[in-house]
């Protein structure tokens, strides 16, 4: 039986030759993402914006009548509603801001949601109500603070872990890769104006863990080769390491993609944003593992000499732990 080989043996792509253009591209992507965040803003869902959000599905129609819903809900006198597609053409989310004082009156906020639902159900009897959420401004503010804290803490903790397991240059490289992957994912949400909710933050936290998997494989090989080929020039060694692990990088990313794509297409609409974020984040993560893991180390001056002595100490500990000494 002939087995599939996605990356031919002895692939030798000179990744480092293109390091400047690709590094510039990465910087542009990061800056562009933040520019999008600051100019477009993120389309915060009820979790972060606070207010009242109703989600409905128009199962019997081709697409939800967004324009007429906007008019209908706008006419109820709760200000301009945000009506948008939610994960699929048939599902909409409708968000209205809470009027002053509604937060202090128990039930006043949800009563607004119920009036919205009743008004729509009268016009479209076949509609299905999926959810009705109220989040007070106070809780929304707490969610924002917690989200920023969790993202920063996770990025720093993962980078410190890489630093401890490898060398400081690798930790900085990991941090850069994470900033890159997270920025581009957030930037995509600013660009597409898909709803940014707690689920999306959860997706980004997952990306922080999983997008580094490929980077770890490349770094592990760099460490191994640094010990093996003491005399090889660093650029050559980095290219060799990336090429040697390329089949792994491609294959591990591919297995995750083929698992995620059906969820994106056939999965529940309410998961669409989250799965889209994870898919994009992992795609970007694969790119950064291949194109950025190496060059950054080169610029930060990883050399076999500076690396090996400390590394052998770690190795000795590992061997001790395994009882091999």
């Amino acid at each position: 039986m002939k087995l599939l080989k996605l990356v031919p043996d002895d692939t030798n792509i000179k990744f480092l030759k293109l390091r400047i253009p690709f590094f510039v591209l990465s910087i542009v992507l990061i800056l562009g993402s933040w520019a999008a965040v600051f100019t477009n803003g993120l389309n915060f869902g009820v979790d972060f914006a606070g207010g009242q959000e109703v989600r409905m599905t128009f199962e019997e129609r081709e697409a939800a009548p967004i324009a007429s819903l906007r008019e209908l809900v706008g006419g109820l006198g709760y200000g301009e509603p945000v009506v948008q597609e939610f994960g699929g053409p048939k599902t909409v989310s409708i968000r209205v801001a809470l009027p002053e004082g509604a937060e202090d009156t128990p039930g006043a906020a949800t009563a607004i949601g119920e009036k919205v639902i009743a008004a729509i159900a009268k016009e479209y009897p076949d509609v299905r109500t999926d959810g009705n959420d109220t989040v007070s401004g106070k809780v929304a503010g707490e969610f924002r603070d917690q989200a920023i804290l969790a993202l920063l803490a996770a990025m720093v903790a993962v980078s410190i872990y890489i630093w401890v397991r490898f060398e400081w240059q690798f930790g900085v490289g990991a941090m850069f890769a994470l900033v890159h992957d997270v920025s581009v994912t957030v930037g995509l949400f600013a660009l597409t104006q898909m709803e940014f909710s707690l689920q999306i933050v959860a997706a980004i936290l997952a990306i922080i863990g999983y997008s580094l998997n490929d980077t770890v494989v490349v770094y592990d090989r760099i460490r191994e080769n640094l010990k093996k080929f003491r005399k090889m020039p660093l650029p050559e060694l980095l290219d060799l390491s990336v090429n040697e692990t390329l089949s792994r990088t491609v294959m591990t990313s591919l297995t995750l993609f083929v698992a995620l794509i059906p969820l994106l297409i056939f999965g529940p609409p309410s998961l669409f944003g989250m799965v889209a974020a994870i898919t994009v984040g992992l795609f970007i993560g694969t790119y950064s593992s291949v194109y950025m893991a190496g060059p950054l180390l080169l610029w930060m001056g990883v050399t076999s000499n500076s690396f090996v002595p400390t590394e052998s100490a770690v190795d000795k500990q590992e061997k001790l732990a395994r009882g091999e000494v």
């Binding site: 039986m1 599939l4 009705n132 989040v135 863990g209 494989v217 995620l260 794509i261 989250m274």
Partner: protein, 532 residues
């Protein structure tokens, strides 16, 4: 590498099968089959986003507790000084700015006053709940200590949680979850509740019932402007009562609270066909009520619920039997609701809904169906890819993947964890990422074979050398999983749980189990070459 002693094989298979079997009841449930009731049935709980239902986050108004404690202290001080023998005369009592202070008419009483107050400054477990200071030799200032406030808030929240539980039980909802969260919050989750309105309006009722004497000396025009004479308070009439929009002045002290009730029932007054709530006091409350009514025959007293006057009837005769009737322009429903609220006890502190989420019941079933479909297609795609790329080694990885999913589901059922909508995404990520370990191992075996190593040595190197990267990659995943768990509420926590448990089952099945499979095959056939 090839040596897998029998005890180790038994142990690994035992663990794998046991954990996988735990998944069966949940699988039966999803498939709509009946699991034999004679067998144990650990089930994965479905989160509200899959089962439908309501989630409420309630927050106590902590300031109210502080104010109430000061008012209680004022009552206590007045009583102690009045009952002292000889009586200690005091004046200029105030409870502003977070403390209570008063003047002694005679500085000579200072030591006696201190002696009387000292015992009430202590809390239950010898912690100091109040600080007592003397200013100018004649003024006593009582300031609650931080630990005193904390203890008061804590006990108020404990009993508030209990009251919330009783009220929800009265509604007859099934399997509610009621948990205290942090210093001032309570999370209420009620699965499958179609209409959360009754629940909310019940929880929104503090049900603090008070009987206070109407201040007959107050000037009506001042009262309607909301200005209270010294020693009195002004309350508005409740909406829906005939006096709605008007105010009543009542004496601040000397009333009684409705917390000593043994029973409350909704009923109809036969005289005028009005809806009423009949209440019965316990012995202590009955005695207080008897005293209040006996001493004030002919005068009106106000029945106040949660700071709103229901009615202010005249006391026609002393009420000595320990039961009373509350009228307040009720409907049958609102009378019943008040009876439930009074029966479950007053909330020691008002609660406010600061977050509420309701999920329709159809959405969850739809999500599970779509999620399962996507998961099946995704799994098949991963399996095809793995088998096409690694042949026999891909088949081993596939078998491991199936056990991985079963074990993950089984362990979640065993731990009583909740599967949420993002948790479904967690399952799919786990499926896609679990085979990563096999990719790393198999690629390394390929590499070692290419370098000319013998089959067994190549396989051995594959597992050994790939181990490092597998370990490091899973460690970073674990770190982000912990951050997820710490960050998330409900649905996101469910995502974190699946990812973190999935890391452990993935390493176990992807590395340990496949190693056993490969070792068994190599030992049996001793191949000179392998296709990988």
């Amino acid at each position: 590498m090839l040596e897998f002693p029998l005890w180790k094989k038994l142990w690994l298979w035992g663990l794998t099968l046991a954990a996988s079997l735990l998944a069966l009841p949940s699988l039966f449930n999803v498939a709509g089959l009946d699991w034999p009731s004679s067998l144990p049935d650990p089930q994965v709980n479905l989160g509200l986003d899959l089962a439908g239902g309501s989630h409420l986050l309630l927050e106590a108004k902590a300031d109210d507790i502080r104010v109430q404690r000061l008012e209680n202290m004022e009552e206590t001080v007045r009583q102690l000084m009045r009952n002292a023998k000889p009586r200690i005369r005091i004046g200029d009592v105030s409870t502003g700015e977070g403390r209570m202070s008063f003047m002694l008419d005679s500085p000579a009483d200072i030591d006696r006053a201190r002696g009387l107050l000292e015992p009430v400054m202590q809390g239950a477990n010898l912690t100091r709940e109040w600080d007592l200071t003397v200013v100018d030799g004649q003024r006593i200032v009582l300031t609650p200590t931080a630990s005193g406030i904390e203890a008061a808030l804590d006990s108020a929240m404990d009993s508030a949680t209990e009251v919330v539980r009783r009220r929800i039980d009265e509604l007859g909802t099934r399997e509610p979850t009621i948990i205290r969260q942090g210093a001032t919050r309570i999370v209420v989750q009620v699965p499958g509740l179609e209409d959360p309105d009754a629940l909310k309006s019940l929880l929104g009722k503090t049900a603090q019932l008070e009987f206070k004497l109407v201040d007959l000396n107050a000037l009506p025009e001042n009262v309607q402007a909301g200005i209270a004479p010294a020693g009195s308070q002004v309350f508005p009439y409740a909406p829906g009562t005939p006096m709605e929009g008007r105010f009543e002045a009542v004496r601040r002290l000397g009333g009684i609270r409705g917390d000593n009730l043994t029973d409350a029932k909704a009923g109809v007054d036969p005289n005028n066909n009005q809806n009423v709530v009949n209440i019965t006091f316990d012995a202590q409350g009955g005695a207080k009520f008897a005293k209040l009514t006996r001493e004030n025959v002919g005068k009106p007293f106000a029945i106040i619920l949660d700071g709103q006057v229901l009615s202010a009837p005249n006391i026609n005769e002393p009420i000595l039997g320990g039961s009373a009737q509350i009228s307040g322009s009720f409907t049958a429903e609102s009378a019943n609701e008040l009876a439930i609220a009074l029966n479950s006890g007053a909330l020691p502190v008002p609660l406010q809904v600061i977050e509420e989420r309701t999920v329709g019941p159809d959405l969850g079933a739809d999500s599970i169906r779509k999620g399962l479909l996507a998961m099946t297609i995704g799994s098949l795609a991963v399996i095809v890819l793995m088998v096409a790329t690694y042949g026999r080694f891909g088949i081993y990885a596939t078998v491991a993947l199936v056990f991985n999913v079963l074990m993950l589901l089984g362990l979640m059922a065993l731990g009583g964890f909740t599967l949420t909508l993002p948790g479904i995404a967690g399952f799919v990520i786990t499926i896609g990422a679990a085979v990563d370990a096999n990719v790393l191992i198999n690629e390394r075996i390929r590499e070692e074979r290419k370098r000319g190593r013998k089959v067994v040595a190549a396989v051995e190197m594959g597992y050994k050398e790939a181990g490092r990267a597998i370990y490091d990659a899973n460690a970073t995943n674990f770190i982000s999983g912990v951050a997820l768990f710490a960050f998330g509420s409900g649905p996101v926590k469910g995502f974190a749980v699946v990812l973190v448990i999935g890391l452990f089952t993935s390493v176990f099945t992807g590395v340990t189990l496949t190693r056993m499979f490969v070792a068994g095959w190599l030992r049996k056939t001793r191949p000179n070459d392998i296709t990988i």
